[in-house]
Amino acid sequence: MLKKFALLSVALGLGLMVACSWVSPKGSFAPTHPQALENGRPTCSDCHGTDRVTGSDKTFASFNHTEAFVANHKFAANQDPATCAACHAQSFCADCHGGKTALLPSVKLGNRPDRVSPHRTGYLTLHRIDGKIDPTGCFECHGRANNEKCTACHK
């Protein structure tokens, strides 16, 4: 028994040492942006030019908050969550992506028309058209969560 335990300990120790030797020696991405940013969507390349993000090897320009970036921010959230977290707290994501929430993002952010929100006032009628043109757009948020209100009509 003791022999097995010793062998297992040695194996685990060796495995841990090998695994640790695989870990990158580079420093982590800055946890917070060092300077406060102005209101509105930031254009990272305005200050960082053609530089690349430390720990990411991507250009700062590829994180410019253009319309295309905002519409496709799921890719950045998947690959570079640490880059998002430098400026955004988790609650920023939860404004829209809460798995279950009482308030529509557009109501919660009614004083922030600059924030993107798919359910602005009047959408109840429009969703009957959008749902026919592209139901997959609804699925991303409502397919597996946050669909209690959907079931009021879509039984």
Partner: protein, 461 residues
Amino acid sequence: MKHRIRLALLATLVTGTAVAQDVTFSSNSFVQAWSPKTPGFSQNTAFPVTEYVGVDVAKLDGKDALSLHVYGWGMADLGEQTYIGGKNTGDLTYGYVQYDFKQANAQVRAGRFTVNQGLGPAPLDGFEARTDLVHGFMVSAFAGTPVVFKNYSSNDQNQVGYQQDFMFGGRLGWRAAKVGELGVSFLQDGLHPAQSLAVPAPVDYTRKQIAGDLKLVPVSFLDVTGRTVLDVSQNQIVAPNTSPSRIAEHDYKATAKLNEALALTATYVERNFFAYYAGTTLPNLFKQNEQGLFKATGASLVWTAVPGLQLVGDVRRTDRASYGTSTRAGVDGRYNLTDKHVLVGAGYHRINAGAAQSVNPLFPSYSLSHSEMRAWVMADRGPYTGSLDVIRLQYTDADNNPNLNGQSSETAVVASLGYKAKENLRVSGDLSAESNALYKNQVMALLRVQYQFGLAVKGGK
């Protein structure tokens, strides 16, 4: 969430707050009032009160490594019931402990959080770990119990919880300068697929997906981003004599920065309903058996005319097997007058869409075409803030579309005034008025109180 997990989180929150050097507490309170006018529904005044609370505790270890993050909400209907789940309800959106290493972007977190792999964000009670490896590789993994929300249309709520009992997955990525990043990920949600049960269930709520993602940025002016997701479950219930595609999604975009002022983006999306809708908890709406195919191609041109002024022209063509082709085209603009503390935006889009079938023999089909117009402004003067948002929708075929009740246009206005009483206390009130096909002139009032204390440096602007 299990009771003991809640207790553990509460204990961590209390002890963590006591020893931490950096605590941020945020409270967002909302009081709403309106009178629903929907035909066939109660006309009593709705008066819901909702409270969102967030606590971020950093430096639990005295350094900038161990932190705690909790966010949730509760609501009470003081008038007519407005929420399907009941007059008094709430939820813990997330609550987790996180440890950030100074090396290799290594991170560990445990509790309730959201994972972004697979199709759409998925909340999970469990743990997640990630680290960068040598030679540009990185690895991440997660496992736990998926958060299952109640689906009131389903008679077998217990079946959903039984099938979706465990979720796990991970991602292996590789990144390099002047290349970008490539990744492959795996997600399995549920260990008990419907067909594997002793008595097979009629609906399968589990899913198993493999995805490949990329972000190529070989030069500063080019960015190609996208992913392909495959449904690899062997347990999906396939209709007889069919062989639906297992490609759930292709979603790609390429952006070329033409010069300092112009950027061109092209997009391509393809989704196969059978694979894409796998595991939905709303199968009567997201119908796997439709076996439809959806494709969309688009392009947008962003022009930064002068600093602060951004104009976007975009066009998107979509094809859906059952509803034909539609084209959405238009322009958006926003102007940030930083020195005057004013931000304005406007947009116009025209959607030329195919016809939808109607059950009315006199009007067997109706057009989905419409126009969308929007203009908004935000401004602040000292402690005062204000915003105005106007939306107008113009429908082409109001006479035949049964969903529009003969109304060819809708207008909605949201006005907001706010006052920053203190650096960490803001009060604002919204008044929205809309005339639409369902409500017919509804007015809603909202009071918002936002309070925050602590050394917050994040939160989004």
